[in-house]
């Protein structure tokens, strides 16, 4: 008697005039600077709503704070033991979301994918580079967005081999999937890393402020004469690591994972010169998507509270990586929805649409899914962080080094594809 | 207050020192079954320390404390309590957050039945025991004359009453040997008389060792007196002998009092 089929049962979250979608994201706590991602998604939805919605339906976007799924005092408590689960249950049972769009965090989303699957809620564009989102057999409703950390590692390895041949390479990685998958990618990319240099630190360092182990890791790397060091860390820790290395006059070539390299989040002059993988041509390339996003933000009445730094911070009017990341997810979801038409908005329908759409995004690498691949982007563009001399620009920015690079899979035998910079145009209904 | 147990006590050659301070030096005395013995001496003479040794709170550096009936030495305080030794403390020593009645009930902790299992499953034995204890404690409070304070917390009762409650609590254990450390301090003269009667009655069914500075109270009451000074036994004997002993007069009682 449980769960029925057919048109008789209304799709949750869909009414004649609205579609309700939700997300669990960090709005406070250590990862609060990622709040901009979902805020940018909301900006896109606001824009679409102001222009008549999608096929006549407005999108209601409910963001719930899960503190990065870390139990903090006063942070959402209630059901089960994780804030993310609590908030997800609220979204499913009370908000009655149609789907999740842009929920963020590896550990956070890991803790609810079973629950969402059990209650048949699509979980779209998860913000994290974990490969966990790519399990179509077990979780047919789950879709990632970012390139996997493994794929990223492979691309970075390729750059290192080509540009720093014979270098001694060290890795400092977060002691979880992020670090482990990043390292696996580097190895799959054919890099040799001496065991003693596969250093990790606890992801909780960011919470507890205990950085002694990072200093220790750097000491070891320095005494081993590492000339290239790869970082798989979130921005505050990237910043800390750069400063700590500076203290010991240690200046290798830094290669930083996309997640931890956004210059305005890292906010440290020592980052200049580092290599990173950037999925978007921001902001130096003249890109229609950037102009478009600026216009959306200017038009949005809420955006002042969402992007305080954009309006008054030291980098005012600078689009940072998080904002573009979010905007592209927002655009992608609208695109998927658009293709369904007015009557096709069902959960089964959106899942099908995900796999059949070739999304237009600001990224140079294609975003597409298939029956066997739910990962999302497959790579990005290599970029170098530079110091800007132009006072109207952010002090630091990522400058693309050349072409977009991507791969069709994580393992060593799937080659890296290189292609010319080519940005898909913005769909008409978003203009 | 029928007790099925009888305990005698013998302290043999006990010495206790704290660092350089000799609190007890080769102290020996004993208390026979159903005997009331007074332990007196100046402040700091070692009386409370002797109690602590007897109760197992302190291990003496030399000597032993024997309870011939038990046939075991070096028992821990809670084991002694179960074996029939009860004691009052020199100060007040009540349980602050328990009502006066519960304080008295606590005295029977060592003999009421029921361990963890009985408690967890709330077996009938546990419930019945509680009810009987409550009645018995109320009767005991009546007996020492503190009935009207049954519901009060110890912090809110006068000092003299607190001392009576402490005695009631000790009696709830149905002890065979009762150690009283200044139980009568804070009582007025009339109450002292009543209290002396109580102890005399007790002495018929248990052994009592009594520390008290009020000689008018102690001397008529006890069968024998042991006098400590600077940790040594300086005299022992009948109240009459001791109160005429030159050394004792000089060290403690004072001349002309």
């Amino acid at each position: 008697a449980v769960g029925s089929s057919g048109a008789a049962v209304a799709t949750p979250g869909v009414t004649a005039k609205t579609i309700t979608v939700g997300a669990t994201v960090p709005l406070s706590g250590i990862a609060a600077n990622y709040a901009e991602v979902s805020a940018a998604i909301a900006v896109v939805f606001d824009y679409v709503n102001a222009h008549g919605g999608v096929n006549g339906r407005r999108i209601i976007y409910v963001r719930k704070d899960d503190c990065y799924n870390i139990n903090a005092l006063g942070c959402t408590a209630g059901v089960g033991n994780t804030p993310t689960l609590t908030q997800t249950q609220t979204l499913v049972t009370q908000v009655r979301e149609f789907a999740e769009v842009g929920s963020l965090g590896t550990a956070a989303q890991d803790s609810v994918i079973k629950y969402l699957n059990q209650n048949k809620v699509p979980d779209l564009f998860v913000c994290s580079g974990s490969s966990d989102w790519n399990q179509p057999a077990q979780y047919p409703l789950l879709f990632g967005y970012q390139a996997s950390y493994q794929a990223e590692g492979k691309i970075l390895a390729r750059w290192i081999k080509a540009n720093k041949p014979g270098a001694t390479v060290g890795v400092i990685g977060q002691g979880d999937d992020f670090g482990a998958n990043g390292l696996a990618g580097l190895l799959a990319g054919g890099l040799k890393i001496a065991t003693q240099d596969q250093l990790t630190y606890s992801p909780l360092d960011g919470v507890t402020g205990n950085f002694a182990d990072i200093t220790q890791a750097l000491t070891t790397l320095k005494s081993d004469n590492a000339t290239v060091v790869v970082l798989d860390s979130i921005p505050p820790l990237t910043s800390y690591i750069l400063a700590a290395a500076n203290k010991m006059s240690f200046a290798p070539q830094w290669v930083i994972s996309q997640v931890g390299s956004d210059p305005s989040s890292v906010n440290n002059p020592l980052e200049a010169g580092a290599i990173t993988l950037d999925p978007y041509p921001v902001p130096t390339t003249v890109n229609v998507w950037n102009q478009w996003l600026r216009r959306l933000i200017a038009a949005d009445k809420n955006s002042k509270t969402w992007f305080p730094n954009y309006f008054k911070g030291p980098f005012s009017n600078i689009l940072d990586g998080n904002m573009i990341y979010g905007a592209s997810i927002g655009a992608a979801f609208v695109e998927a929805l658009h293709g369904l038409g007015r009557n096709g908005v069902t959960r089964a329908g959106i899942v099908k649409a995900m796999m059949n759409t070739h999304f237009a995004t600001p990224s140079l690498t294609p975003l597409s899914y298939s029956k066997t691949n739910h990962q999302g982007l497959q790579g990005g563009s290599l970029a170098r962080i530079v110091a800007n001399t132009d006072p109207t620009q952010a002090p630091r920015a990522a400058v693309l080094l050349g072409n977009a690079e991507y791969t069709t899979g994580d393992s060593a035998n799937q080659p890296i594809i290189v292609r010319k910079q080519q940005v898909l145009p913005i769909p008409g209904y978003l203009k | 207050m029928a007790t099925d147990r009888a305990l005698s006590l013998s302290v043999e050659d006990v010495s206790v020192h704290f660092g350089g301070l000799y609190a007890l030096t080769n102290v020996s005395f004993d208390v026979a079954v159903n005997e009331i013995v007074g332990l007196i001496g100046p402040n700091g003479a070692g009386k409370t320390t002797a109690f602590n040794v007897i109760c197992g709170f302190l291990r003496p550096q030399t000597g032993v404390v024997r309870f011939p009936v038990l046939g075991r030495e070096n028992l821990r305080p809670h084991q002694l309590a179960r074996a029939g030794v009860a004691r009052t403390l020199q100060g007040v020593g009540l349980f602050d957050r328990l009502s006066v009645l519960e304080n008295v009930m606590a005295g029977a902790q060592s003999r009421s039945g029921g361990g963890l299992g009985v408690g967890l499953f709330g077996l009938p034995a546990s419930a019945r025991g509680e009810r009987e204890l409550r009645q018995e404690a109320a009767a005991m409070l009546e007996r020492v004359g503190a009935r009207q304070y049954a519901g009060a917390l110890p912090g809110a009762i006068p000092y003299g009453i607190a001392k009576k409650v402490a005695v009631a609590r000790a009696l709830m254990a149905r002890p065979a040997l009762l150690l009283l450390d200044e139980p009568a301090s804070g009582l007025d003269e009339r109450e002292l008389g009543e209290f002396a009667d109580l102890i005399s009655t007790l002495g018929e069914s248990m052994s009592v060792l009594l520390v008290e500075h009020n000689m008018d109270f102690v001397m008529p009451l006890v069968h024998r007196v042991v006098v400590l000074d600077f940790g040594e036994v300086i005299a022992a004997g009948t109240p009459h002998d001791v109160s005429h002993n030159e050394t004792v007069l000089a060290a403690y009682l004072g001349v002309g009092e």
């Binding site: 406070s28 250590i30 609060a32 600077n33 005092l73 006063g74 002691g175 250093l199 990790t200 630190y201 606890s202 360092d205 960011g206 919470v207 507890t208 402020g209 205990n210 950085f211 002694a212 182990d213 200093t215 220790q216 890791a217 000491t219 320095k222 005494s223 921005p235 505050p236 910043s239 800390y240 400063a243 500076n246 203290k247 010991m248 006059s249 240690f250 989040s265 890292v266 906010n267 440290n268 305080p308 730094n309 911070g313 | 409370t48 109690f51 602590n52 109760c55 709170f57 403390l89 020199q90």
Partner: protein, 297 residues
């Protein structure tokens, strides 16, 4: 080989000292509050961070580091005094656990306030001294001019506090007020003022520690979290009655941590506090440096 090991040991010792002294300084602030009010202040870290933000944020607006430091410490003292008057004063005589809970609540409030005023955006707080570590041969010895400054500050504050509590009448009155407020009042001790002063002093020291922790690092609301736990453990091992004990325990935790990091595994490092604690309390349950005062009966 021998000299390699020697230089490695040197590195570890100095690295341990650098972390250890900060742990010790925070532990010291906990000892002060314990000695003067018998409260375990869980918000100590956040209070120090708040004051640090108030003062040190001005560094980014061009104010001199030392002026900002002074401003932070003064803010910290004012915050401490205010906290005692408003939050702690009404709780004397209430169950022991109540002030703990109130300070946990205050911790939540302070962290939220810091996060919403200064946003969560990160900036590095530049150091007034060089933070570049010295080198010996090929190895970095984890000591820099800033670390030396840190050790000197801790030594000075420690001697000041130890003198205050052991030698002066003011310190005696503070201890008495915490141990037994009613009796102290009967002796004419102005208990209320001393309690306020104790909190001010403690938060001032805590702020100094927070500024040191944040210097040369990202100025973030959570800077004190982990190190505060180590400091709490240090205070417990050292004996809350003893400033010297807190310092020794704090430095030991720093050293043990450094050695674990170097010779064992990074993920075990947070256990260093536990290791020191278990060893310390196994030796003396009432705190390593607490003198035996109790007589049970």
């Amino acid at each position: 080989m021998g000299s390699f090991l020697a230089s490695r040991l040197m590195t570890d010792i100095f690295g341990g000292l650098a972390t250890g002294t900060v742990i010790a300084l925070i532990a010291l602030s906990l000892v002060i509050i314990w000695q003067s009010t018998h409260v375990l202040n869980f918000a100590q870290g956040a209070m120090g961070m708040f004051a640090t933000f108030v003062g040190m944020n001005l560094v980014f607006h061009g104010l001199n580091y030392w002026w900002c430091l002074a401003l932070s410490v003064v803010t910290g003292m004012a915050l401490g005094a205010l906290t005692e008057r408003v939050l702690i004063r009404p709780l004397y005589g209430k169950p022991e656990i109540n002030p703990i809970v109130v300070m946990i609540g205050f911790l939540g409030v302070l962290e939220a306030i810091i996060a919403s005023i200064w946003t969560t955006n990160i900036s590095m707080l530049p150091s007034p001294f060089s933070e570049i570590y010295y080198e010996a041969g090929r190895r970095t010895i984890l000591v820099s001019p800033f670390v030396i400054y840190e050790v000197i500050v801790v030594a000075l504050v420690l001697s000041g506090i130890a003198l205050l509590f052991r030698r002066t009448n003011l310190g005696l009155q503070m201890r008495a007020a915490a141990l037994s407020p009613e009796v102290s009042r009967l002796l004419g001790v102005r208990v209320g003022r001393l309690l306020t002063f104790g909190w001010a002093l403690s938060t001032g020291v805590g702020t100094l520690a927070a500024v040191i922790v944040s210097t040369g690092q990202v100025l973030a609301p959570t800077n004190m979290d982990g190190i505060f736990v180590s400091a709490f453990i240090a205070a417990a091992v050292g004996g809350l009655e003893s400033p010297t004990g807190a310092i020794i325990a704090g430095v030991s935790i720093g050293l043990v941590e450094q050695f674990i990091l170097d010779f064992w595994s990074t993920s075990v490092a947070p256990l260093s506090g536990v290791i020191v604690l278990v060893i310390g309390l196994a030796i003396r349950p009432q705190g390593l440096f607490t003198r035996q005062v109790s007589r049970r009966v």
